[in-house]
C-alpha cells in the first residue's frame, strides 16, 4: 500500500460527484428551511390534529353532495371543450399537415401553456372573470388543450406517410386528407387521452376549488380555514372517493378503447 492508493485521481470518479450531490442536497435543504425539530414537532402536532379530524361530521354530508357534483360537472364540461380545441392545435402543430410557420406558432403556444400549472392560469382567469366555476372550467380547458394538443400533434406526426400519400393520390384535397386519413387514425388515441385527462382534471379541480373555482375543493379549504376539522374530513373523504372512482372509470374505459383498437 502506498500513497498512490489514496490519490485524488483514483477517487475522483466517485467521490467528487458524490460530494457535489451531497452539497446540492444540503443547499436544497437549507433553501427549503428543513428542520428536524420542526419535523418532530410536526409529527406530534399532526397526530394530535388528526384527533380533531375524527370522527367525521357526517351531518355535513348532504351539504357536500352538491359541491361534489359541481366538481364532476366542471370536469365533464372542461375536458371535451379542451379536447375539441386541442384538435385545432394538434393539426396546426403537426409537421406533415401544417406549414412550418403555423407549426412553430402552435407548438410555441402549447409549450408556453404547458409551462403554466393550472393554478397559475386560474389565478389570472379569476382576476378577469371573478371567482366561480367559469374560471375553473376555463383553466381546466386550457390545461387540457396544452396536454392533449401536444400528444395529438405528436401522434399525427407519427402517422405512416403512405396513408396520407395514398389518400392524396386518389385525388383528395388537403382537407379531405385530414378528414379521411388523419382524423380516423388519431381519434382513438385522442379519446383515450381525453379520458385520462378527465381523471387528471378531477384531481386538479379539487386543488383549483380551494382557490375559488368552487366545488368540493372550496368546501375543503373553507372547512379547514374555519377550523371545522371534522367537516373537512367529510370533504376530504369525498374528494378521495371522486379521485378513486375517476381513476377506476378511466382505467376501464381506456383499456376497452385500446382493446377495441379503434372506434366505430
Amino acid at each position: 500500500m502506498n500513497l498512490g492508493d489514496f490519490s485524488l485521481g483514483r477517487y475522483r470518479r466517485r467521490v467528487i460527484p458524490a460530494a457535489v450531490f451531497v452539497a446540492i442536497v444540503i443547499g436544497a435543504a437549507l433553501l427549503c428551511e428543513v428542520s428536524f425539530s420542526d419535523f418532530v414537532k410536526g409529527i406530534v402536532k399532526g397526530l394530535s390534529l388528526l384527533t380533531f379530524f375524527f370522527p367525521p361530521d357526517w351531518a355535513a354530508f348532504p351539504e357536500m353532495i352538491r359541491p361534489a357534483l359541481v366538481t364532476i360537472v366542471i370536469c365533464l364540461i372542461a375536458t371535451p371543450i379542451g379536447a375539441a380545441f386541442s384538435i385545432v392545435f394538434g393539426l396546426a402543430g403537426a409537421r406533415n399537415i401544417a406549414p412550418d410557420w403555423l407549426r412553430l406558432v402552435s407548438r410555441s403556444i402549447i409549450a408556453a401553456e404547458r409551462g403554466l400549472p393550472e393554478i397559475v392560469t386560474l389565478l389570472v382567469l379569476v382576476a378577469a372573470f371573478g371567482l366561480g366555476p367559469l374560471a375553473g372550467v376555463m383553466a381546466l380547458a386550457i390545461g387540457s388543450i396544452g396536454m392533449l394538443g401536444k400528444l395529438l400533434a405528436d401522434a399525427i406526426e407519427e402517422i405512416d406517410p403512405r396513408i396520407l400519400d395514398a389518400t392524396a393520390a386518389v385525388g383528395a384535397t388537403h382537407w379531405q386528407v385530414i378528414r379521411h386519413a388523419v382524423l380516423p387514425e388519431v381519434l382513438p388515441s385522442l379519446v383515450a387521452n381525453s379520458i385520462f385527462r378527465f381523471e387528471v382534471n378531477i384531481r386538479a379541480s379539487v386543488l383549483l376549488g380551494a382557490v375559488g373555482a368552487g366545488g368540493i375543493g372550496y368546501e375543503l379549504n373553507a372547512a379547514i380555514n374555519q377550523l371545522e376539522y371534522s367537516r373537512a374530513t367529510v370533504a376530504a373523504l369525498l374528494s378521495l372517493l371522486l379521485v378513486f372512482l375517476s381513476e377506476r372509470l378511466s382505467d376501464r374505459l381506456r383499456s376497452r378503447i385500446i382493446g377495441a383498437g379503434r372506434l366505430g
Binding site: I24, V25, A28, A29, L31, C32, E33, V34, D38, F39, G42, K45, G46, L49, L50, F53, L69, V70, V73, I74, L76, I77, P80, I81, A112, R114, G115, L116, P117, E118, I119, V120, L123, V124, A127, A128, F129, G132, P133, L134, V137, M138, R203, V206, L207, A210, V211, G214, G217, L220, N221, I224, A232, A236, S239, L240, L241, V243, F244, E247
Partner: protein, 275 residues
C-alpha cells in the same frame, strides 16, 4: 340483375349520418345542461370581455425590473426548484423501500404486502391539497410543509410503479444467485435492482417534472417559493408583477424540462456504453 347483398344497416351512410348528428346533439345538450347546472352564462365570456381587456391592460408591460430589483425573487425560484428536487429525491427513496415490501416476489410476508399496497393506493387517491392543508397546520407555513407534501405525493405515485416494475423482473437471475448462496438482500441488490434501475431513473425524472409544477401550485397555498410570490402579487393587485412572475414560471418549467432531458439522455447513454 345484381343479387341483393345483405348490408348491415349500421354501415349505410344515411344511418351513420343520423347517428352522428344524434351523438353531436346529445353531447351539445349535455354540455348546455352542465353549463346551466353551474349557472355559467357562456355569452358572458364575450359580454364581459372588457374585463379581460382591462386586465391585460393592467398586466402589460410585465414589470421585468422586478427580476433585478427584488433580490428575494431569485431566492424563491431556487426555493421552488429545491422543493421539487428534495421532494422527488426523498419521496423516490422511500418509495423504493416500500415497493420492495409491496411486491409479491420480495415482500417478507403477505400481511405486510397487503398493508403497504393499501397505504400506497390510499395515498394515490388523496389530493395533494389535503396533505398540504394538514401539513401547513402541523409543520407551519413555509416551503418545508410543501416539500413534505410533495414527498408524500411522490411516495404514492412511485411506490406502485416501482412495485409493478419489481413484480415484472425476470426471476431466473435471482434464483440462480440464491442457489449459489445469496441472502435475500443480496438477491435484491445483485439480481433485482439492476433490472429495475432504468425504470426507476425514468420515473424519477418524470416525477421531478410533475413535482416542479406542483411546487409552484402548493406555493400558492402558503408553501413558499415562486407560487407564493405570484399569489402575493395577485392579492395586492400588482398585476404587472404577477405577469413577471408568470413569465418566470413558464421559463423555469421549460428550462428545467430541458435540463432533465439532458441528464436523462446522458444517463441512458452511459448505460448503453456499459453493456
Amino acid at each position: 340483375m345484381a343479387a341483393a347483398v345483405a348490408v348491415p344497416s349500421s354501415i349505410l351512410p344515411s344511418v351513420r349520418f343520423r347517428r352522428r348528428i344524434l351523438l353531436l346533439a346529445a353531447s351539445l345538450a349535455a354540455l348546455g345542461a352542465g353549463l346551466l347546472y353551474l349557472k355559467i352564462d357562456p355569452v358572458a365570456i364575450f359580454r364581459d370581455f372588457h374585463y379581460v381587456v382591462g386586465l391585460l391592460d393592467e398586466m402589460f408591460p410585465p414589470n421585468l425590473r422586478l427580476l433585478w430589483v427584488k433580490k428575494g425573487l431569485w431566492l424563491s425560484v431556487l426555493q421552488t426548484v429545491a422543493m421539487a428536487f428534495l421532494g422527488t429525491l426523498v419521496g423516490a427513496s422511500i418509495a423504493i423501500v416500500l415497493a420492495f415490501l409491496a411486491s409479491v416476489n420480495t415482500a417478507p410476508s403477505r400481511p405486510v404486502r397487503l398493508i403497504v399496497r393499501t397505504l400506497l393506493a390510499t395515498e394515490r387517491c388523496t389530493p395533494n391539497i389535503v396533505v398540504l392543508l394538514v401539513l401547513l397546520v402541523a409543520v407551519g407555513i413555509g416551503p418545508f410543509a410543501a416539500m413534505i407534501s410533495l414527498c408524500i405525493g411522490s411516495v404514492g405515485m412511485f411506490g406502485k410503479l416501482f412495485a409493478d416494475a419489481i413484480e415484472q423482473v425476470d426471476p431466473l437471475p435471482g434464483e440462480a444467485i440464491a442457489a449459489a448462496g445469496a441472502a435475500p438482500l443480496q438477491v435484491i441488490r445483485y439480481a433485482i435492482l439492476p433490472q429495475i434501475a432504468p425504470s426507476i431513473v425514468a420515473n424519477v425524472f418524470y416525477a421531478f417534472d410533475v413535482n416542479l409544477r406542483l411546487a409552484v401550485t402548493l406555493g400558492v397555498f402558503g408553501g413558499g417559493g415562486l407560487g407564493f410570490e405570484l399569489h402575493v402579487a395577485r392579492s395586492v393587485l400588482r398585476y404587472k408583477d404577477m405577469f413577471a412572475c408568470l413569465i418566470l414560471v413558464m421559463i423555469l418549467i421549460n428550462v428545467m424540462e430541458r435540463i432533465a432531458d439532458f441528464f436523462r439522455r446522458r444517463l441512458f447513454l452511459r448505460e448503453v456504453e456499459l453493456r
